[in-house]
């Protein structure tokens, strides 16, 4: 990370453009001192929509992945300060993931380029004027009719229509491409059901879920929506929860949330799926009549044969099939990048059949929404084939970074160079932009007008929420301007002078189509809502294709003769690599390994013994396609015959945060088309310990609970009976994790009495709300959206890898991940997550030790931390049993927000300086803000009127916040659950945070 210190001499013109000026706008720019801002600079013309000090929200759409969730962008003084979910958007319903929130750091990324860049004769880039750039592009286009190609990311909508028309006018070809395009699933849908689309999955309705390596909580398909559904069916309310089984050689975050992880031999998932389908079909047929035709095809897949190939016992396979068939409806999913091997298409087809024979197609698996993710890898191959033949003279790359996201072994960079004139619209100089001749930086989605149609029935709008931070230009405008200048057909496509008008024209047509009385009002309503959302989710009836041989599985093949199978693992933080320049995502510890800021190689403990390596030792990984180095992370959740390296690291450009950070696992992969998709998991790798060492920057302490009872779990049977944890432990015949002796208990009671006496003094005796929180561990998936929300809301600085080594991360809320079992081969491995934040204890141990009363108890039950009183003795941190107090060792705020990242800071929250202890405040500024509004309106606070940033972001709805004195509040209802417990209850600190024990299916574990 850069050591650049942001100076506070923000160029005045920029300051006015971006911020406008008010006391608050200025106040947020610098640290904690009082002597910097001495000037008050007024607006020239005030903005009627913006009142200083009051947040204005704009509805928009997220473009960080193809799911296109709805956003509410909070702006203050004319700048975006936080991205929140749009509550009425059907995809995400008001919640948002970490990657989505980090979109804000794409807007304020300090490495965005300030204008068009043209390559000079000597190979360097020079910034040029926009008019000059457009003229240059037009000249090149004029000279290359029929030899134009466009490579675009997947964003169906009005822009896509314009781009298509524009490309056609040049007689060019348009290729749409997403690295994580889930082509196998789409191709399998085509093959099995004759539908060229990705199905949508109803996780909420499923009573039993089996995922064949589809990481539906991380990168696969529409993660936020799926997580919401999963929390509904797998989270505990009263009845049995949906048992979830994860079939994959690697336990990723989704696998960690499953009730059972079936560790299969890499590449054999399809055999298992077909065997399960065979068992279901022969044992208990609920399948549609036409599935009987599958008997012949499936007949050969017996449990006995499969057991050998897959590495799972016969009984286990039978159990999997029977459980899947007996739950109605159930759901099987496949097609994640983590299992995208050479047999991925067969796997997806097999899972389609499995769903079909179990009668799930049409109930939990729905077709008809027309979801696609680009034209697929085959189209990329075709496009680069045209480069090879010299058929392309001008190439426009928009919203795609092929030179990073394609394996090096495919010689894509060399083939790209064969194109005469390459234009990129990247806002940051990424790998593709660096190899281009002209870069026309596009506007960030938060700065521009646009729409996106991720599926039928959802049409999201985007609007500029602020003035552009950098002098980019909407690519839509570039297309319209070049179209006009080119004349002919291109001019006829450019039906408007600017893209906003073009978009509004398209929407006027939409209004007409929907018979809206007033097109202007229609537009305004849609803009306010965030788009057009049809309530009913489309569902088209599908039937099996007539083809006899729909799929067959023999196990995937792998290149090379290394001893281990390489798993190029998609991760929640990096995904396909576009998050690599967002410091929030780099500092966010990977939910599986808890590693920050660097990549790693996951090695099974057995394998580590075999290789004689320890954590942090650098392995040299070699495949027939290349070699990279990665530090070892010993991980019990991986097949001993496999080594996993995360995708998304090792950029060679893409700004200060991403560049040269780790190695790119794609360098190890072959580029051979796996029949329509890139087979990420298709190489064997050999590992050689180098003897070098690199500390792994992980944020975990001891990953075992050691009887501390931090993350409690209850089997689903006990939970259904309504047992409390204590009752459950008694029933099990052993004590709770730790029990105070009678004498200790007496002392605790006595102390409690005296504390209650204390509470009758002063302001504490008055009627005040008591703020409290519950965290339902049966819903928490460890996805860490709350962590990023807290970073955004509370101006948490990222501290960088070096400081992480010293345990100095500033995560006010962190996800603790503990392992249970898995210590011996064959023993099931279980992961438990606990979001850990300040518990706002009634008897807080931190309070009495503060010599300056900086830590004190507010009358409304918060553990207050007064920064201006704090002198940094750190006694409170030492005395905190939960270790949730974080000390600002250096002026992290100076380093973490290089201009213009400082504009993301929330003016409602103090930016802490050096030497101050800080911690979760339960979003006290939101509490005070809501109380303030209520007072102004002469009314009482209403439960649910506001919530904390973490609770607001959580896609699972695991966190509930409210006044525990209000018997009708949601938090009281949640805390009444018999599953409720306090972490370290025996310390008698009386936390305000109640955890509800995780609920798990434990029967039949092998």
């Amino acid at each position: 990370m850069s050591d650049q210190t942001p100076d506070n001499k923000l160029d005045r013109r920029r300051f006015l453009t971006v911020v406008g000026a008010t006391g608050a706008g200025a106040a947020a720019l610098s640290g904690c001192t009082t002597d910097r801002v001495q000037k008050l600079i007024p607006y020239m013309v005030g903005n009627e929509d913006q009142i200083p000090g009051i947040a204005t929200y704009y509805a928009s759409s997220c473009t960080e992945c193809a799911a296109a969730c709805g956003l509410h962008v909070r702006t203050r003084e004319g700048r975006a300060v936080k991205l929140e979910g749009n509550p009425v958007h059907p995809v995400n319903r008001g919640t948002i993931c970490s990657r989505g929130q980090a979109g804000l750091q794409g807007l304020y990324n300090p490495d965005r380029i300030a204008g068009p860049m043209a390559r000079q004769a000597d190979g360097t880039f020079k910034q040029i004027e926009w008019t000059e750039a457009i003229t240059l592009l037009v000249t090149k286009l004029k000279a290359a009719p029929g030899r134009v190609a466009v490579l675009s990311g997947q964003a169906p909508g009005t822009f896509d229509t314009l781009l298509e028309g524009w490309t056609r006018a040049q007689q060019g070809t348009l290729t749409r491409w997403e690295p994580f395009g889930h082509e196998p699933l789409r191709l399998a849908s085509q093959r099995v059901f004759g539908r060229d689309e990705l199905p949508l999955h109803d996780f909420a309705a499923a009573k039993h879920i089996v995922s064949f390596g589809a990481d539906f909580l991380e990168t696969w398909h529409t993660p936020v929506e799926q997580q919401r559904g999963f929390a509904q069916s797998h989270g505990f309310t009263q009845g049995p929860t949906a048992k979830t089984v994860y079939v994959s050689p690697r336990m990723d975050l989704t696998g960690m949330n499953a009730d059972a992880w079936v560790r299969v031999t890499p590449g054999t998932e399809a055999i298992l799926a077909l065997t399960m389908a065979n068992i279901i079909l022969s044992e208990r047929n609920r399948a549609p009549a036409d599935a009987n035709g599958l008997r012949g095809m499936l007949g050969g897949y017996t449990a006995e044969k499969a057991a050998q190939q897959v590495g799972v016992t016969v009984d286990k396979i039978r159990q999997l099939a029977r459980e899947f068939a007996s739950a109605q409806p159930s759901l099987a999913v496949a097609g994640g990048v983590g299992t995208q091997h050479r047999e991925a298409l067969e796997l997806c087809a097999a899972v389609h059949l499995l769903n079909y024979v179990a009668g799930n197609v049409g109930t939990t698996v729905k077709f008809g929404a027309g979801v696609t993710r680009g034209d697929g890898y085959a189209a990329i191959e075709r496009l680069f084939g045209r480069f090879d033949k010299g058929e392309v003279a001008v190439l426009l790359v928009h919203d795609a970074n092929p030179l990073y996201a394609l394996p090096k072994s495919g010689q894509f960079a060399e083939r790209f160079a064969k194109v005469g004139f390459k234009v990129s619209t990247a806002a940051v100089m990424d790998e593709t932009a660096m190899a281009s001749d002209l870069v026309l930086p596009s506007l960030h989605p938060l700065e521009r007008w646009d729409d996106i149609r991720p599926r039928a029935g959802v049409l999201g709008l985007m609007q500029p929420v602020m003035e552009p931070v950098f002098a980019g230009r909407h690519t839509g405008d570039v297309l319209l301007q070049t179209g006009k200048q080119l004349g002919g057909t291109a001019a006829s496509v450019a039906t408007a002078t600017d893209y906003k008008t073009y978009l509004q024209n398209a929407w006027a047509l939409e209004a007409k189509r929907r018979r809206a009385a007033d097109a202007v009002q229609f537009w305004r309503d849609a803009l306010q809502r965030g788009g057009l959302f049809d309530v009913a989710s489309p569902s088209a009836p599908v039937r099996l294709s007539a083809t006899a041989q729909l799929t067959k599985a023999v196990g995937a093949t792998f290149d090379g003769d290394g001893a281990y199978t390489l798993i190029a693992a998609p991760t929640l933080t990096m995904s396909d690599g576009r998050g690599a320049n967002r410091p929030w995502l780099l500092e966010l510890s990977d939910p599986v390994t808890k590693i920050t800021w660097w990549h790693w190689a996951e090695v099974h403990p057995e394998t580590a013994k075999e290789l004689d390596v320890r954590e942090g030792e650098i392995l040299e990984l070699t495949t027939p396609h290349g070699t990279i180095k990665a530090p070892v992370y010993i991980y019990p959740g991986i097949h001993p015959g496999a080594i996993a390296v995360p995708l998304g690291w090792g950029h060679t450009a893409y700004g200060r945060y991403a560049q040269d950070r780790g190695a790119n696992v794609l360098d190890l992969l072959g580029a051979q088309d796996g029949n329509g998709f890139l087979p990420y998991q298709s190489t064997k790798v050999s590992a050689r310990p180098t003897g070098e060492y690199r500390q792994v920057g992980k944020t975990e302490g001891n990953n075992r609970q050691l009887g501390r009872g931090i993350a409690e779990m209850m089997p689903v049977e006990a939970a259904v009976k309504g047992l409390s944890l204590r009752q459950f432990y008694e029933q099990e015949g052993h004590a709770e994790h730790e029990v105070n002796t009678e004498r200790e208990q007496g002392a605790i009671e006595g102390f409690r009495e005296s504390q209650l006496e204390q509470r009758k003094r002063g302001g504490y005796a008055e009627e005040h709300p008591q703020w409290g929180m519950t965290v339902d561990l049966s819903r928490c998936t460890g996805c860490s959206a709350c962590v990023t929300a807290c970073y955004a809301e509370n101006n948490l600085p990222t501290v960088g890898e070096e400081e992480i080594y010293r345990g100095r991360e500033m995560t006010w809320i962190r996800i603790e991940r503990f392992w249970e079992g898995g210590e011996r081969e064959g023993e099931p491995l279980e992961a438990r997550f606990v979001p850990m934040m300040c518990q706002h204890c009634d008897n807080a141990p931190c309070e009495p030790v503060c010599p300056v009363y900086a830590a004190y108890h507010t009358v409304d039950g918060l553990n207050g931390q007064v920064y201006n009183r704090c002198v940094g003795t750190r006694y409170c941190g030492n005395n905190c049993p939960y270790k949730v107090r974080y000390f600002n060792w250096y002026a992290y705020n100076k380093k973490a927000f290089p201009e213009p990242l400082n504009l993301q800071l929330n003016p409602d929250v103090t930016v802490r300086g050096r030497g101050v202890m800080e911690k979760c405040t339960m979003c006290v500024h939101r509490i005070r803000g809501a109380q303030h509004t209520a007072k102004l309106e002469d009314r009482a606070l209403v439960d649910g009127e506001f919530t904390t940033a973490c609770a607001q972001a959580c896609p699972s709805g695991a966190i509930t916040f409210g006044n525990v004195k209000d018997p009708a509040s949601k938090v009281v209802a949640a805390a009444r659950s018999p599953r409720g417990y306090h972490v370290f209850e025996e310390l008698n600190v009386r936390p305000a945070v109640t955890y509800l024990a995780k609920v798990r299916h434990t029967e039949g574990q092998s």
């Binding site: 006015l16 000026a21 008010t22 006391g23 608050a24 106040a27 947020a28 610098s30 640290g31 904690c32 001192t33 009082t34 801002v37 001495q38 000037k39 008050l40 600079i41 007024p42 607006y43 020239m44 013309v45 005030g46 009627e48 009142i51 200083p52 000090g53 009051i54 302001g763 004190y856 507010t858 009358v859 409304d860 918060l862 207050g864 007064v866 920064y867 201006n868 009183r869 409602d908 929250v909 103090t910 930016v911 405040t921 006290v924 500024h925 005070r928 303030h932 007072k935 102004l936």
Partner: protein, 207 residues
């Protein structure tokens, strides 16, 4: 506790301000100006003790920092009885008081050029700044540390529309604004909160 400020008789309320802004200036501003403009001799009771003809050169003698333009609160808020919130438009709706935009100034001064050469000189500075699209950089007088959150609207609700003087002093008598109360000192806040028996919790203001 409060300095009595004469009740405003001006038409300038929030609505009028919006009209001025919406009209973009000229006509509305002229009407407004005609209604508002009363020569000082017409005033029966003149609360202003200093002469109307002050030059920038005189300001050195005044308390408080010299401003780029000698903007006279004593004339605007005192003699003309403009409401504070005409310019500080968000003080009663937001935690922030709002610094008037240049357009707010020009709403009147597009027409009002000043009666004598000294006033004219100051107004010319404003007009030039407007012409050059360069906002005036005012010297800040009152500021709180950044770890303090002071909601203006709440205090105005509690203390009334004339509450400004409680902290800012009687600006109707100040040709040049100066700091009357040391608002940076927490004791100043606490004194009042003690007197009134209102919230003194740390996290009421510090978060």
């Amino acid at each position: 506790m409060f300095t009595a400020v004469p009740k405003s008789t001006s038409l300038f309320g929030d609505q009028m301000r919006k009209l001025v802004l919406l009209g973009g200036g000229a006509l509305v501003a002229i009407i407004a100006a005609v209604v508002l403009w009363r020569p000082s001799s017409a005033q029966t009771q003149d609360p202003v003790t200093v002469a109307r003809t002050l030059t920038a050169a005189d300001t050195a003698a005044f308390r408080g920092p010299t401003q780029p333009i000698l903007f006279r609160h004593d004339l605007h808020a005192g003699q003309f009885k403009m409401q504070c919130q005409y310019c500080h438009y968000s003080a009663n709706v937001s935690s922030e008081p709002g610094i008037p935009s240049m357009q707010t100034c020009m709403g009147c001064h597009l027409v009002i050029a000043g009666t004598d050469s000294t006033n004219q000189a100051e107004i010319t500075k404003l007009r030039n700044a407007w012409r050059d699209r360069k906002p005036i950089e005012w010297n800040r007088i009152h500021f709180l540390a950044r770890h303090v959150h002071f909601p203006h609207d709440r205090h105005i609700k509690a203390l009334g529309a004339t509450a400004c003087a409680t902290c800012h002093g009687d600006v109707t008598r100040m040709p040049q604004v100066f700091k009357v109360n040391n608002v940076t000192n927490m004791g100043f806040c606490i004194t009042c909160h003690l007197e009134r028996g209102v919230n003194r919790d740390c996290t009421a203001c510090h978060y």
